[in-house]
């Protein structure tokens, strides 16, 4: 009886499993690329930036790229969490400060043509590869503000712009922290004193760096601090803003790409790094993305001031990294005091 019942159960199970077995088409699996033709890229760039680059890279090399998007900090944390066996090959995007802060995640790689990089952009030890230079600029609402009213960083401490300044929260936005450090570096005076004056004048920061152009263009703020790329894109989209390069000079901190240490596809990752620094991509950076190339042999837009004209100074990356923790603590205190 037992044996018969067992037999019956077996039969039933066979039928049911035959009925519900997933039909995996082997011909589909054959279309998937082999492991040596794959690359995993973590990027904090927007799709309009990484899209054409990844597409062209795929078509030129035949390597299938898997793109994972997210905020810079979030992606770096992910890679750190993956530990010894990361899934990621390349971190594409993110300010060099952020990349430096996670230096132990990366493996140095020296691209061919590194000697053609603009001065000051080549990192020590080639831990990362610069992608584009991003000067910090001031913007103003062309309807509310005369261009002559705004000259440089010193105006941000001027009481007449109190509460009228669009500035993203440095705790959230990496570029905003860069802008703050640039401000502190360009103005004479004790660092934390300057910060105190600035926060008093600022009032409440904006939650996201993407809001700065909209806030100024919309008129809720009169002037703002943002990246040149963002400002030029805004102008191209017809926003009512003008750009001022600060008279005191400014920083032009690059964003970069880095090879993840222990990457599953290191050769493909190196090919990708070579590609993003190639003249073709750098030309695209200039022509399509309103950014500045990191190469000397790729000319920036003619209408833009050169680095010398802007008075670009060497951004103190190490100092900025070391300062960040204390800065954010004080920032939180000062901004918290300023708000009821």
């Amino acid at each position: 009886m037992k044996r018969r019942f067992f037999f019956f159960l077996c039969t039933l199970f066979l039928f049911l499993s035959a009925c519900t077995a997933p039909q995996n088409d082997p011909s589909v699996a054959a279309l998937a690329p082999p492991e040596e033709q794959r690359l995993v890229v973590y990027t904090s760039h927007k799709e309009e930036v990484y899209g054409p680059i990844v597409k062209e890279f795929q078509e030129r090399t035949g390597i299938w790229v898997e793109v994972v998007t997210g905020g810079t900090g979030e992606l770096l944390e992910d890679i750190a969490a993956q530990g010894e066996v990361p899934e990621c090959d390349v971190m594409f995007g993110g300010g060099v400060e952020s990349l430096s802060a996670y230096a132990w995640l990366f493996e140095p790689y020296t691209c061919s043509g590194t000697e053609l990089l603009k001065p000051g952009l080549r990192p020590e030890g080639d831990l990362w590869t610069p992608f584009s230079a991003l000067p910090v600029v001031l913007i103003y609402n062309t309807k509310l503000v005369e261009p002559v009213e705004l000259t440089g960083w010193i105006d941000l401490l001027d009481g007449r712009w109190k509460g009228k300044i669009a500035f993203a929260d440095p705790a959230v936005s990496g570029s905003s922290y860069t802008a703050a450090v640039t401000l502190l570096s360009c103005l004479p005076g004790e660092t934390w004193e300057l910060l105190k004056y600035f926060t008093e004048n600022l009032g409440q920061p904006l939650a996201d760096s993407g809001d700065v152009v909209a806030a100024v263009s919309g008129g809720s703020k009169s002037i703002g601090v943002t990246l040149e790329e963002t400002a030029l894109k805004g102008i191209a989209q017809g926003e009512d803003i003008g750009v001022i390069y600060p008279a005191e000079g400014t920083s032009s901190v690059p964003d970069g790409s880095a090879l993840v240490a222990g990457a599953p596809h290191p050769d493909n990752a190196r090919a990708f790094l070579e590609f993003v620094q190639s003249t073709d991509v750098q030309a695209l950076v200039v022509s399509n993305f309103y950014r500045r190339s990191v190469r000397q042999d790729v000319a920036d837009r003619e209408e833009l001031p050169t680095e010398e004209e802007m008075g670009v100074f060497d951004y103190p990356v190490d100092w900025a990294s070391a300062l960040k923790e204390e800065f954010l603590l004080r920032w939180a205190d000062l901004v918290g005091e300023g708000t009821p």
Binding site: C19, V28, L31
Partner: protein
């Protein structure tokens, strides 16, 4: 307790068999039907999808090849080459003529355009193509690198597919000829090649979407499919209720993907399973019900029979089972009834035999009552007779004493010799009592003298002959014979007296017992003793007397000897 155990095991067996017989075929059939149904449906839809996607892919491949031919033809055109290099500019109509005539067979299938070396649009059939293309980037750069046709997908403007061939110039490319397939071209190309309800996606070699059929609004489908492919999962996981079939167009590396609604939605399958499950449950319930019913029908008579047997076991032989019907169980009941009846009859008979034996023993013991006193008295009488000179008294007393002594002995069997000695004593007494009334003769085969016979068996027979045979006062003759006949010893007592009356004889033969006052008590006793010792057929037998007068009684006994055998 035993009844319950029997019931439980019987029911369980019956139920198990019913379930096995009822359910196993049902489940197997349901499984088979569902499986076959599903398999056939899936295979049909798979085959249909396969043929559709093959048609779609060959359509695309054909179009790409035709475009390649047109582009090649355009590239060879002298006029166009000159237009590219700028030498033939201003000759627009002729160039357009050449362009249209080359593209004539494919005017509705694709757009054709000419770009110069910097990627600026020179001539185009449609205004929808881009005014310029980057020369160092994308498809133009690739075409310059490669001889022959280059196919690329783009996702700008809803996606399109471009085929470019570089026209070789003096240094690098003099210009480019391009064919572009946009949404309307794909729609026109695929029209009627797939079943309504299905959707088509065209993917570039890296699985970016180039075209999606108008009914497919899901713009995230292509990335999901790509993720499935990259992670090695089945494409079907990209969206429920659909299956995906993909085929690569080998020439261009582009993939055509067909999305087909599942032939059986999960809900429908679930309904099938529920229905199958319910019917199996229903069948199980019917099996249980029928098994219970049949077991009850079978079990009731068995239980009755069982308790009846228990009663018989306890000693109640009057137990009877009510018989209903003619089935096997009823036959069994009938046999049981007959068996108890027979058992009861046998028991009654054996009790009666026991009783009879007891009676005979009592009579024998009564006969032995106080024999020593009688014996001593008779001995005294004998001596008194001798002293007084009465010879006859002395003889009778001696004989009587001897008979009495022998009859007292506790042995039931004696040698024939002893029995004959008692008989002679008795005859001597009777001869003195009735002088001249009869004479007596004895004919015994010598070797039978030691054979064993029941004690005091012959004397009552001879007494019967003397008392009843000659009660009319006539003179007669009494003969006692002992002969061997095979294994048996035949003892015959014969007289030529008046014989037994018909009434007494019949009464005796019916074994009704002696009639009061009529005598023959001795015959009854001997008969009873013989039948107790040797079985019911071994009683006295009455033979027709020779000469037709008197009585002839025969006793047939098996011959047996005392310890010591015949010769002792």
């Amino acid at each position: 307790m035993r009844g319950v155990g029997l019931r439980a095991s019987f029911r369980k067996k019956l139920l198990g068999s019913f379930l096995a017989v009822g359910l196993v075929p049902l489940v197997v059939c349901v499984g088979l039907i569902l499986g076959i149904f599903q398999t056939v449906l899936l295979r049909n839809s798979m085959e249909s999808a396969q043929s559709q996607i093959e048609a779609l892919t060959s359509d695309l491949g054909g179009l790409i090849a035709s475009c390649g031919d047109v582009l090649e033809e355009l590239g060879r055109e002298e006029l166009i080459l000159r237009a590219m290099t700028g030498r033939g500019r201003g000759n627009g109509t002729q160039v357009y003529n050449a362009l249209y005539s080359a593209a004539a067979p494919l005017l509705r299938e694709a757009d054709f355009a000419l770009y110069d070396a910097e990627g600026k649009l020179l001539y185009a059939i449609s205004n929808a193509v881009p005014r310029s293309l980057p020369a160092n980037w994308g498809i133009l750069a690739a075409a310059r690198e490669e001889e022959g046709l280059v196919c690329r997908g783009t996702d700008t403007g809803g996606g399109c597919m471009r085929m470019v061939q570089a026209i070789p110039g003096e240094e690098g490319a003099a210009g480019y000829v391009m064919a572009e397939l946009r949404e309307e071209h794909f729609r026109h190309l695929f029209q009627g090649s797939y079943v309504a309800g299905n959707d088509v996606l065209v993917l570039d070699p890296f699985w970016s979407q180039v075209y999606a059929s108008p009914t497919l609004q899901d713009s995230t489908l292509a990335p999901r499919l790509r993720a499935c492919l990259m992670e090695g999962r089945s494409l079907d996981e990209a969206g429920a209720d659909y299956t995906y079939h993909v085929l690569r167009e080998e020439e261009s590396g582009f993939c055509v993907l067909l999305r087909q609604p599942k032939p059986l939605a999960d809900g429908v399958m679930r309904l099938f399973y529920v229905v199958a499950g319910i019917s199996i449950l229903l069948c199980a319930a019917v099996c249980v019900q029928v098994a219970m019913r049949i077991s009850r029908q079978l079990f009731e008579p068995i239980r009755t029979l069982n308790s009846a047997m228990a009663a018989v076991e306890g000693g109640d032989l009057d137990t009877q089972v009510k018989v209903t019907g003619t089935d096997e169980i009823s036959q069994l009941s009938g046999r049981f009834n007959r068996m108890t009846q027979r058992l009861k009859a046998n028991l009654t008979q054996s009790i009666r035999q026991q009783q009879e034996l007891g009676d005979a023993q009592i009579r024998m013991m009564q006969a032995q009552l106080n024999p020593h006193f009688l014996y001593n008295t008779l001995d005294t009488l004998k001596w008194l007779g001798k002293i007084n000179g009465s010879q006859e008294v002395s003889t009778i007393s001696a004989d009587l004493a001897d008979i009495l002594r022998r009859s007292i002995s506790a042995e039931e069997f004696v040698a024939l010799r002893e029995e004959l000695a008692v008989l002679e004593r008795y005859v001597e007494i009777q001869t003195i009592r009735f002088p001249g009334k009869f004479d007596f003769s004895l004919r015994v085969e010598e070797h039978l003298l030691d054979a064993l016979v029941p004690k005091l068996m012959l004397q009552p027979l001879v007494e019967n002959a003397i008392i009843h045979g000659f009660e009319d006062g006539s003179h007669g003759h009494i003969t006692v014979e002992a002969v061997q006949s095979g294994e048996l010893m035949l003892l015959t007592v014969r007289d030529d007296g008046c014989g037994m009356s018909e009434e007494s004889l019949e009464r005796f033969l019916r074994r009704e017992g002696p009639q009061a006052g009529n005598g023959h008590l001795g015959l009854y006793n001997v008969d009873a003793i013989l039948r107790l010792h040797y079985g019911p057929d071994s009683g006295l037998r009455f033979l027709p007397p020779p000469g037709g007068r008197g009585t002839c009684i025969r006793v047939a006994l098996p011959i047996s000897y005392e310890k010591g055998g015949e010769g002792s």
